[in-house]
Symmetry: C3
Amino acid sequence: MAFLQNAWYCVGWSSDLADKPKSIKVLGKELLLYRCADGTAVAVSNVCPHRFAPLDCGRIVDDQIECPYHGLRFDRTGACSLNPHGSGTIAPNARLQSWPLVERAGALWAWMGDPALADENEIVQYDYVTDSSWTGFTGYLHLDVDYQVVVDNQLDLTHSTYLHAKTVGAPRQETAEGRDRREYRFHTADGIIHSDAVRRDTPPAPIFRLFQDRPLGDIHAPMSLYLPSNLILDIATTDPGAPKSSGSRLPSAHFITPETETSCHYFFAFFRNERIEDARITARMEELVRHAFVEEDAPMIQKCFDRMGGKDLFELKPVILETDAAAVYARRALAKLIRDEQLKNADA
Amino acid sequence: MAFLQNAWYCVGWSSDLADKPKSIKVLGKELLLYRCADGTAVAVSNVCPHRFAPLDCGRIVDDQIECPYHGLRFDRTGACSLNPHGSGTIAPNARLQSWPLVERAGALWAWMGDPALADENEIVQYDYVTDSSWTGFTGYLHLDVDYQVVVDNQLDLTHSTYLHAKTVGAPRQETAEGRDRREYRFHTADGIIHSDAVRRDTPPAPIFRLFQDRPLGDIHAPMSLYLPSNLILDIATTDPGAPKSSGSRLPSAHFITPETETSCHYFFAFFRNERIEDARITARMEELVRHAFVEEDAPMIQKCFDRMGGKDLFELKPVILETDAAAVYARRALAKLIRDEQLKNADA
Amino acid sequence: MAFLQNAWYCVGWSSDLADKPKSIKVLGKELLLYRCADGTAVAVSNVCPHRFAPLDCGRIVDDQIECPYHGLRFDRTGACSLNPHGSGTIAPNARLQSWPLVERAGALWAWMGDPALADENEIVQYDYVTDSSWTGFTGYLHLDVDYQVVVDNQLDLTHSTYLHAKTVGAPRQETAEGRDRREYRFHTADGIIHSDAVRRDTPPAPIFRLFQDRPLGDIHAPMSLYLPSNLILDIATTDPGAPKSSGSRLPSAHFITPETETSCHYFFAFFRNERIEDARITARMEELVRHAFVEEDAPMIQKCFDRMGGKDLFELKPVILETDAAAVYARRALAKLIRDEQLKNADA
């Protein structure tokens, strides 16, 4: 499997660089992130080209990273700025790879492909982290699975009433035949893949009961995927029949970044627009979300992925349900983007 | 290495299904075992054909298993009985593999090959678990080794006086030259492989001292292998020279079921015919057996297997002793059965 | 990667055989070391040729090792001396490989190649362990890395001021441009590879402050590599400008023995010539050295090695500094020795 290189991937929250450098592996590359004296965050390789030492264990001296093994220093562009030994000669290959890094609304985004193609406007918008009229939390989870099965999981939220009934899922609404009365719509627009669900006249999920009092209402759950793997779920509960904008909102971000072919980073954020002054609600929400992700989603996704035995999803000829429409479309669209990128690179 | 498919393999004790489903991997296949309302135990695939979720985490509803991830339901034959989403259409490939499962004298047996060939009469007989005139215990051990080295271990009980002197092994009886005075006979009859040993005028093994008082006696230790990998050791101690049927008996079952090429399940049972009302003796016997298996056999077998480096036993040109006759014969007989089965399948 | 077979490798300290046999894997071979009644230490294979049982778990009977699984016995030459079963026949292939083993100045050395070529005079000399006019300690570390990166580490002690500033490293002495004022000389003589450093008018490393009082002095740090992988660092601090022989000496041994292609044994010894009666100094020195090796060197070397992804160092086109001269020369010299040995074996 190849990755889409020309894309912005979330590599952390701004707070990750509060006091020291951070290392993170992205698309198989070891990145070192650190903040310069002027506040700018930069991304260079975390591997010293001398003996392959991990630079994140080193110290920052005048915006340069000093290798903790033999003391070579590299500046924010990745150039070697000091060889303290012998005559001090700096070899031409003494250079760290570097990547465009952008800090946007509390998140750090790295562009992993051709720097000339990096366009900050393509970064997915989720402005709640730094907007004081909203409150919530950010988090992180490491998963030992192909990032695409995490995207699959988010694009098919029917799992929520089965797996997350005690945390973030709305209760089942079954017909006499045992079918779920959830309304579902898959569509695409401007390259964004929409997997939208609505439930009407339903009791809210446990997480909504923490900050709104409707015993029954409508739940609007539009999930948007920005390829390759960044998702926004702009969920809200409203009075029955009322417009979504009038509701109690809980927009969440799900930024999924491939680490290797069989592991990924999951950066998440949940922000709400009501009772924002109550920190105890926030703490309880974070607890529920962590439980849902760590105890419910992660083990399930892990077991499913392990049973795939390293094979591609379609090669396994899975049963495909109507509610898989978005996930199937997304996988095919991403495969095409990757193929196009590879053809272009082969031409160049 | 291939497995013999057309065979009954032990997949559990009846008590394993007392209150919930059970999952077990057999010959590389993921099985889900559960008990229906009428008491019948069934075996279907534990892998949902939609996203490969582990079904054993789901709930049983009207003899159907409900997938814990997205709620699909499957009946006891493996057919999908409900798709709760969208229009509820059930795809033709929405089906779980199923296997013949028989419950016999307290054990669960699955037939892994062609269902048309399954004959319950071929299940090895060990009736003590459900016979109230005997008492004892059943147990289970998971081993990270090829199941054949566990069979080897059982077919050559000379190891017992060396490895199990403090638990289940009789003391050494050495000649002046340091040779063991154990009598040994290997023979086959009706497809059963017999590896029989007798010791005369010998103090009994520690496990026998728990329920019989002879300071010296004869030990009759006939081991029978029912291919591929189910063994019965019908051991007894008697007064010197007395017939075996007059003795203190301790017949044990050793049902070994391949999990993968490098791991297996070991279901064991030990039942005795004397002092059967004394539960403290049973508890102490179980302790000795667990110690023998967990602390003595398992580490030894594991280390031996690890040193084989994934190679076939014969390829390693091992020293073969006279007392390896049964194990060598068994390996060759099993290899022939597997080869014949493969040729037959290739023809079909 | 191949290993140099015709060489002495350290396989333990004499004290390792104080009361029981020892097993150690060397160049991929499982060795069993044990001491005979006459005090001689011998090395035979640790793998029983019958079922591959680990012999080090067995007992020694009259200078023979008894297999803990089925009781076969082997003498100090590796010949099978007893088969206790059946007729007692001993098969011709019932034999353990054996290796020349020499005990020299407190260390055990095994010759892994053609026994006819074993020459004890080629064992590296480090006589302090058994010389009562010196005091110190021996130790052992297991590392999951190719042994050559440990040799690299020792041949380039520039890392000491960065990685070991709090333990065994001398403080940095920087020029205005940030360069280290350490004097360095690489040379070879009689097949020995020398990587020598001198620091002048410098405060001593923390480990020297434990047994000598010079606030400032010269540090002489000549490292010698005896191929394939045994190193002696004959370090001393002196009064400024005084000859090395007048100094406080702390000669250390670093005997590195390949276990597999990706793991090795590290036998170390540190002995001093001053305040040798003070056991508290020795204990504190050992603490510092353990901290330096376990907390500083080992994690760094491990991370560097892991990032090499199983590739050869030169294939990765590393930046090579002037101070890498000895390490680069040593790798090439060793590769040549291995190549020559292989050619010779192919001819034979």
